[in-house]
């Protein structure tokens, strides 16, 4: 078998005396779609930062393609949450930065063909020359995915890429990420609050809870029993019309949108 794209062995992360997660074992193979769920502060984004090489593990081992993570590795693509881009750079410029924005110098080589190809792959060709700030949230995320693909990554880290998108765009963006991993063979580590848009594509769920974590097939992890154990408090997982609702004892509904 080939080297896993990502391998965490007995991994733990602590800030001072606060343990965020520990004893984490996870092997992600090429082309796998792993959805990372959990309440705020459960260390989802920190996990991504560990993979990016921005944060060291407190204990355990991590390997990306068999090597310790390295800052700026071209094997790792990063799709951030949608945020307003103030500066008037065009969609194609953002993608171009994904190709060689980390190199010194003003940049001599024209990369136009490569940028066009990347934009075409995510269906963003028609707004290639529009400033990013003038694009809708869904369009911006398409451009972000093209940017993340620019370095030919073996794994895509998606950090809440659906946040502040409406339901239709959420589905479009998730669909695109799924199509991308099928086309490129890149693994996906998808951090999200919204479980339903990603559920159809998810191979495995990693649920980071306050009282532990669980990894496995969505149907095995997203059960009242498992989540009650992970939260250390009564949790109900309800399935309605093919959608998963996670309801805590405070009546608060997680992982769903009430304002469709």
């Amino acid at each position: 078998m080939s080297t896993p794209v990502l391998e965490l062995t007995g991994a733990g992360l602590a800030f001072g005396s606060r343990t965020v997660w520990s004893g984490l074992d996870l092997v992600v193979e090429a082309g796998e779609f792993v959805t990372v769920l959990g309440p705020n502060g459960s260390g989802k984004t920190s996990l991504l930062r560990v993979v990016l090489g921005q944060l060291p593990l407190s204990v355990g081992r991590i390997a990306v393609l068999g090597h310790p993570p390295r800052r700026g590795s071209r094997a790792v693509g990063y799709v951030p949450q949608q945020r307003h881009v103030e500066t008037p750079v065009r969609a194609r410029d953002l993608v171009r930065l994904g190709i060689d924005g980390d190199r010194w110098g003003p940049g001599r080589h024209a990369r136009r063909a490569q940028v066009d190809e990347l934009l075409a792959a995510v269906g963003a060709s028609e707004y290639a020359d529009v400033p990013v700030g003038m694009l809708s949230g869904g369009e911006q995320q398409r451009v972000r995915i093209a940017q993340a693909l620019a370095s030919g990554p073996a794994i895509l880290l998606c950090d809440e890429p659906l946040l502040s998108l409406d339901l239709r765009r959420q589905h479009e963006v998730t669909e695109l990420i799924d199509a991308t991993r099928r086309a490129t063979g890149a693994a996906v580590l998808f951090v999200t609050h919204e479980v339903n848009p990603v559920l159809p594509y998810t191979d495995r769920v990693l649920y980071l809870g306050p009282a532990g974590h669980a990894a496995g097939a969505p149907d095995d992890v997203l059960t009242s029993e498992r989540l009650t154990a992970l939260y250390g408090a009564p949790i109900d997982v309800v399935r309605v019309q093919g959608r998963v609702l996670v309801v805590g004892d405070d009546g608060h509904i997680h992982h769903s949108r009430e304002d469709e």
Binding site: R71, Y78, D100, E126, Y127, G133, M134, L135, E139
Partner: protein, 298 residues
Amino acid sequence: MTDDWWARLVDFSDYGQLLPLVTNSLVAGSLLALVGGLVGVFVVQRDLAFAVHGVSELSFAGASAALLFSLDVSLGAVAGSLVAALLIGLLGARARERNSIVGVLMPFGLGLGVLALALYPGRAANKFGLLTGQIVAVDDARLTAMVAIAAVVVGGLLVVWRPLTFASVDPDVAAARGVPTRALSLVFMLLLGLAVAMAVQIVGALLVLSLLITPAAAAVRVTASPVWVPVLAVLFAQVSAVGGILLALGASVPISPYVTTISFAIYLACRFVGGRRARRGWVRRPARQAAAGGTIAG
């Protein structure tokens, strides 16, 4: 009365004799425009307009102190700006912190400068020159210093151009891609400090923004191309600086109003043109997509 007033503003008699006297100023103005246009691109991207103003007040303080103690004024200006740029760069990584630090430093710098000027026994014109600009004060030694500073700033910017652009427009992804965003931020503050020190000696501390921000702010109104923004910014700065000096030549008022007025007029024109472009959706897009377009920046 009006004629007299106008004659003080625009007077082209004896122009032929005056021109050779300001060759140095024209070269200095042109260098400053090159530096200001390029630095301005990143000032606008990084939202540093207020920081530029703060750095320029400390540069003014440094220059005034140098004047008082009979030291080299250029050196004083550079020292003042570098200290300010370093402090702002180190203490104000986030925009909100940065603004309060600038707000704290600026009046302090201005106060120090006023104190030094009040104690300075020399000619009043020298004093006000540092605040509002001076046209004929560029001697060969100062010009050499300016050439050196310009070379450092332009050379430095070229080296960090791509990663600095990445870190400025897209900090999160840049950091994920291993771009040393914090170090670049400090490097840029230092280059900015040098540029401000140059500008203070030509257009004066109060009006530095007219060459370090207005041209680039005008350029981003009409284009988003990474090539055209710096080209237009430098062009606008050249027209403002060199044009301003040429206009001010025959007049008996300082150079700054000419520079600031030209650069402001360019900005207004660009806003007008850019506003029309933005309303039309910037580039032609199929109707379906235009309807789905999001918020319009500016």
